[in-house]
Amino acid sequence: MTLIIQAILDGICIGAIYGLGAMGLVVIQKSSGVFNIAQGMFMMFGGFIAANLTLNLGMPMWLGTIVSMGAMAVIGMILNFLIMRPLAGEPPFTQLMATIGMLSIMYGLVMVIWGTDPYIYPSEIIPIADLKFLGLHLSPSYVNGFIIALIACLVLSEYYRRSKEGTAMRATSEDEELAASVGIKVTKVLKLTWSIGAACSTLAGVLFGMLGSVNYMLGEIGLMAIMPVLVFGGLESFLGALLAGFIVGVVNMIVGVYWEGSFPGITAVVPLIIMLLILIVKPYGLFGEERIERI
């Protein structure tokens, strides 16, 4: 019993991080309609920048994270300007291929710049201590991840709902031309979305890296982790993404407790199987909106 509760708690902590990673994708998808498959690589790239700042340059953890988020926000903006802006209005397949190009460039660059050795955060560097109660034990990286990811998710969704830029972003995601006609600068909105998306996934990448290590497989693993979250939550809502993150995290952990011993590696696969089943039965995700198509 303790094992299950422990698994559920761990799952919720990890789920918050998955949710944050998925949110980065949702932000970009909502405003520009681009399915950014390179999001996992954003996580990895940002994670590597933060790991270098903290472990090699000796910055405190919080400063390293914030600096890397800022750096990735700038990179996201540059990518938008150089790659996505010239391709605006092209068919979705072209834009998808452009993000695949980004994915490939970042994947190669990570190995060129930082090599294939993993970076592991020592436990002293993580700010919050262990939580122990009723025979349960939550390790600091999990608690930390949960709190930071939850705060980030809530801040982001409030920002979207209340602020002026958030309203502009929502308007752009509804209809770009209408938004432009009421005086919203669509290019500026897209710039902002790409930087927010990149910063968001950087934070998720840093938290993800604290769980294990920051290595060159993180991009692929991150992408595989946030895909089921997107399908559960739909590509439209933030809170959907967060809730779906919890579900995926808990499923992950429970599967890990029971089956990881007999089938190594199955933790990463079970959410994908559930995702495929959902896609077959309910094609637009559990909370997604169904689109009506016209000829």
Binding site: F35, E90, L96, G101, S104, Y107, A268, V269, P283, Y284
Partner: protein, 345 residues
């Protein structure tokens, strides 16, 4: 279609639908095929080996071209299906002693079967959801082959040299001729699939599936068929590659390869079988040249990741500056030289 030179008239249907239309084209084609087939006699061994593997890659690229370029269903699982073909053939030949020429086609069929399963979500999905589904399918296939016993799991599986009767294709040259022969056969097959009834149905579904349905095309059947045909080609390519390398392992089919196949058709040109040659050969040349650059030992480990950077950069540049791909450039060049010295305006 192609424009005939002035003075050539078609008098019957057969000559009107022909792919190779004039005597000059026949001569160029035959000379090119013979020159390529004689490559082992005048090219160094390393280049012939690369060409042998390129044949397999081009065959798999035909598959993704039919699936994505003609039918519009984006699939990232091509590398996994390539792996299915490789494993099927290796297991059939090594464990069950099935003759090679039977097992090639059986592995194509098994890949097609897996392709149909990949394709089931496409009945209701479109765009990114299909991308996610095929990506998940890729991960499932790779997980499966690396965790069951009969594929050899993490250790990998041996694949013997192909043989026909007592004749064994055990040298680099013989393997090259085998793969080149299959490449010609598959080119003929792919070219005829896409201009036949199936190919026209694929194009109709790609351009507008609701309109295609109104015209009487069974959209679901066509999509599944496209997945089956596309994966059949990948299976054949995978089988040839397995017997060429001699040893197969789950890490030979990484996720990035699925992206690379899409890159081949983007660079070559969507919706043309000849474009597959351009795209695949272009990237193979770039990759091989990059890996073999003469640099110091410390620099050498950066070369392999640099191929990924180069790949991404080329795709993005092509998408922005030349979205029709290299085949379109080739057509422009052909129409230019046809009237070359006496161009009229």
């Amino acid at each position: 279609m192609t424009i005939d030179p002035a003075g050539i008239y078609r008098t019957n249907y057969i000559s009107d639908v022909a792919v190779v239309r004039t005597k000059t084209q026949w001569i160029i084609l035959i000379v090119a095929v013979i020159l390529t087939a004689l490559a082992p006699f005048y090219l160094p061994k390393a280049i012939v080996n690369v060409m042998t593997l390129t044949c397999c890659i081009i065959i798999a690229t035909f598959g993704i071209q039919i699936l994505t370029g003609y039918c519009g269903q984006v699939s990232i699982g091509q590398a996994a299906v390539f792996g299915i073909g490789a494993y099927t053939s290796a297991i059939l030949v090594n464990d069950y002693h099935v003759p090679f020429f039977v097992s090639v086609f059986l592995s194509g069929l098994s890949a097609a079967l897996v392709g149909c399963i990949f394709g089931i979500p496409s009945l209701r999905l479109r765009g990114f959801y299909l991308v996610m589904a095929t990506l998940a399918g890729h991960m499932l296939v790779i997980y499966f082959v690396s965790h069951v016993d009969f594929t050899g799991g993490q250790i990998g599986h041996k694949a013997d040299y192909p043989s026909i009767g007592s004749f064994v294709f055990n040298t680099g040259d013989r393997l090259f001729w085998l793969n080149f022969g299959f490449l010609l056969l598959m080119t003929w097959l792919a070219r005829n699939i896409v201009r036949g009834r199936w190919g026209r149905a694929f194009i109709a579904v790609r351009d507008n599936d609701l309109a295609a349905e109104v015209m009487g095309i069974d959209v679901y059947r066509t999509k599944i068929l496209a997945f089956a045909v596309g994966c059949f080609f990948a299976g054949i390519g995978g089988s040839l590659a397995a017997h060429y390398t001699g040893m197969i392992h789950p890490t030979q089919f990484p996720m990035m390869d699925g992206f690379w196949y899409l890159g081949y058709i983007i660079v070559g040109g969507l919706g043309s079988i000849a474009g597959c040659y351009f795209g695949a050969i272009f990237f193979v040349v770039i990759k091989e040249v990059l890996i073999r650059l003469p640099v110091s030992m410390e620099m050498a480990k950066y070369l392999l990741p640099m191929t990924d950077v180069a790949f991404g950069a080329i795709i993005i540049l092509i998408l922005i500056f030349d979205p029709k791909g290299m085949y379109h450039r080739w057509e422009l060049f052909k129409s230019y030289y046809r009237i070359w010295p006496l161009a009229y305006k």
